[in-house]
């Protein structure tokens, strides 16, 4: 499947998240996995809300890209801010 970072960006912003996100891609057992890390949009971070939001985002991304990704929501400030051209995608498959 061909994925554009912009597809992920639009899903995140439409769902009220910031444009601070990272995409990590790795290959395990001949299968590619994609993790999307995004900063929380809420002040409170209780487990139930987080779980619900993770599921919601995973489904929204699957709707747009057609693939199952795993989403993690982290605290605000955890993702490095860009001052020029941003680097959001980290493809670990190239390291092998």
């Amino acid at each position: 499947m061909n994925i554009w970072p912009s597809q992920i960006e639009s899903v995140l912003i439409k769902n009220g998240y910031s444009s601070n996100y990272n995409i990590f891609i790795d290959r395990i057992n001949n299968n590619d996995i994609m993790d999307v890390v995004v900063e929380t949009k809420n002040q409170t971070e209780d487990e139930n809300t987080l779980c619900r939001e993770v599921l919601l985002l995973e489904n929204a991304i699957k709707d747009i890209t057609g693939i199952k990704v795993s989403v993690s929501i982290v605290a605000v400030g955890k993702i490095e801010r860009s001052e020029g051209k941003s680097k959001r995608v980290f493809d670990k498959r190239n390291l092998y």
């Binding site: 970072p5 639009s10 910031s18 860009s82 001052e83 051209k85």
Partner: protein
Amino acid sequence: MSFYQKSIETMEYTRLKSMQNELFCDLIKRVYKSVNYYKEKIDKLGIDIKEIKSIDDIDKLPYMTKDDLRSAYPDKLLAVPKSESVRIQSTSGTTGKRVIAYYTQSDLELWEECCARAIVATGGSSEDVCQVSYGYGLFTGGAGLNGGSQRVGCLTLPMSTGNTNRQIQFMIDLNTTILCCTPSYAANLGEYIAKNELRDKLSLKLGIFGAEPWTNELRNKIEEDLGIDAYDIYGLTEIMGPGVAFEYNQKNGMHIQEDHFYAEVVDPIDGHKLQDGEVGELVLTTLTKEAFPLIRYRTRDLCKIYREKCKCGRTHIRMSKPIGRTDDMFIVKCEHMAFTN
């Protein structure tokens, strides 16, 4: 609607085309004569340049790719004596070896002109205070918008990137009205302003953001966070830098500055030429640049081009906001894929 060079920007299409024909034929002759790399490439394909009589013959010529630029590093594509070049700029080199672009004095002037048109098209004038928060140095962002801003007569703040505290301090103290930077940095400045509740202290009215692809969703967010209108500007170091194409007040596609650049769209896989309106890879030819002219350069940016009557009055062809660069796309191999319509 205001223009920086109305007679050129609204030039009737047939006149524009005949101007392009003339510039293009001159370009081919001058490049063939002065750049050995091109001469060899053209000769190898058995092309007789005497048969290139108008811009419609462009299909006979080969594409140039980033690999060509890399193998011509550092100066094999220089089309004027080094003594006539006055500046270099360079790509960031994130996808491999750096590419160096050269400029003569006249190249710098046309670059300034292109950026000035972009600033005026979004509503900028000599009354404005323009904060340039793109990187300066080898990167084209700072240099390009700085030149354009001064050309328009804006009070220009050469801030470069980073030091967000200071950026905001200057923005408040000097009443910045126009912000130029990457959209991701604009989003971060917006976040800082919201967090510190500073929006009421700002005089910002518009932003010109480019150098990376960005979505309309991000545009809406930046506009909301900063309380401005946000416009896209397109360009690449290989071709010139920012200002190759720009959005105007309707935010409906970017006008490619056709008196300086000729645009085609091709299939990114096999290179066959696509019709206007089809999404493919943008291919650009520089019609007027002296030091570093490029013929049919494959930008790797995916978009469509279309010539429609535009509300702003400009006649130059438009390009859609690029989806991204083919290098940005990644391919994921997945056993358990769920297709959706």
